[in-house]
């Protein structure tokens, strides 16, 4: 049976090699391990907030990852609309899923910290509230993908929404911030200037989480590429039987 090269579908950029994945995995593991050590052993207890403050590193690093993820979604969406290549769509989808994951982590760690530190689950702080809206926007992105039946439509609609959503986020943030100045809250996340060891831990956490993001992204892209291949194989089998 003559094999045909697909015009779109699994392309080299879409399916990162096993070797690359393995090296990223090792680096990520090491960095996360180092970060864990720093967070739990190296950094002293916070003067006012105590032990629970350590969750702050996970919280902020997750938020950073979410921001990173959604920036990738934005860029990939624009690239998909201008070039029409499947790999940009796969990149956008994978990044969006990971972004939702980390956003959920932000929304979980935030209230935990709030409840333990200030006995308040939710403070309507502008950044946390914007994160909530961010969560809704990117869940909506995923729902759009589920609701569109054809792959090309799905990719296009999602890309369009990815652009709209991303542009919206800064407007949402400023609106909520001004809104909060009218109805102020006592508690905010702004701490005092960070002590040196905290800053170091912070930076390492950011780097470690960034690698984690890349690691998860590569994994997800590979899965997407494999699903594409399966779909193509199915179609070929069905076609040859017909």
């Amino acid at each position: 049976m003559p094999q045909e090269k697909p015009a779109v579908g699994p392309v080299p950029g879409l399916r990162p090699g096993r070797g690359g994945l393995n090296s990223i995995a090792v680096i990520t593991f090491v960095l996360i391990a180092v970060a864990q050590y720093l967070i739990f052993m190296y950094v002293p207890d916070d003067a006012t907030l105590g032990l629970i403050q350590r969750i702050f590193y996970f919280h902020v690093a997750s938020a950073w990852n979410a921001l990173l993820a959604f920036s990738v979604v934005f860029a990939a969406s624009i690239l998909y609309l201008s070039k029409g290549e499947r790999r940009y769509d796969a990149l956008a989808l994978s990044s969006a899923e990971i972004g939702v994951l980390f956003t959920t982590l932000v929304l979980i760690t935030g209230p935990i910290w709030g409840k333990v530190s200030w006995n308040q689950w939710w403070t309507w702080d502008p950044r946390l509230t914007t994160t909530l809206i961010l969560w809704f926007i990117y869940v909506a992105y995923l729902l759009i993908r589920l609701a569109a039946d054809e792959p090309e439509k799905r990719a296009r609609y999602a890309a369009v929404f990815g652009i709209i959503g991303f542009i919206d986020v800064p407007i949402v943030f400023f609106s909520i911030r001004w809104w909060r100045t009218i109805h102020p809250v006592v508690i905010t996340w702004q701490g005092a200037a960070m002590e040196k060891s905290m800053l170091q831990t912070m930076i390492v956490s950011f780097i470690a989480f960034s690698f984690l993001f890349v690691y998860l992204l590569i994994h997800r892209l590979r899965i997407e590429a494999m699903q594409d291949e399966v779909a193509q194989l199915k179609e070929r089998l069905q076609g040859s039987r017909g």
Binding site: A140, D149, V160, I164, D168, V172
Partner: protein
Amino acid sequence: MSFLRKVGLIAWKDLRAEFRTKEMISAMLIFALLVIAIFAFAFDPTRDEVRVIFAGLIWVAFFFAGILGLNRSFAGERINDAIHGLMLSPVDRSAIYFGKLLGTWVFMTIVEIVALPIFIVMFNYTPAGSWLLAGTAILLATLGFVAVGTFLAALTANTKASEVLLPVILFPVVIPVVIAAVEATRGVFGGLPPADFVTWFKVLGVYDAVFVAVPFLLFEYLLEV
């Protein structure tokens, strides 16, 4: 000029079709009143607190009624595949977007104009401030809502579960409009000095500009068959 005329033509078509039956606009109006009634039973309209949240209440009612209108805006084009008739004509794709936007904006504004006095009566509310300012706020907020809403309605019209999907994807994106609309209305009706709420007019202005421009650029991607 011809572009504007085509926009007006498409809006005319929607208005003409709707005013023959008035189905959608009456449903929107009744729904808005029902939302307020439910709030009344939930929150007791005789309490003073209600005065404080009046602005919020009316916008909740308007936005939920607006969703009904948005859901229908492209549904009419799917019957008989009329949207393809439009796309095959020499009209610019974006004219379809603006035409639909204009039509839905008119519908929603009509509902607001009729419903607002009824709300004022139901809650014994005495709005202060300038009606001109209030009207501007309402028009700007409605525009922002309908601009994104029309765009996303075109998107969901071609998907499964379209009526359920639209509110889910629309409301997160229009949060700034919700906040700004309520705060601006509250400020005007509460008789506050303009300096207190001018920020919200700016927010509405920026939002409207951005979310009319971006859909204009992206609309053709939604319409490719």
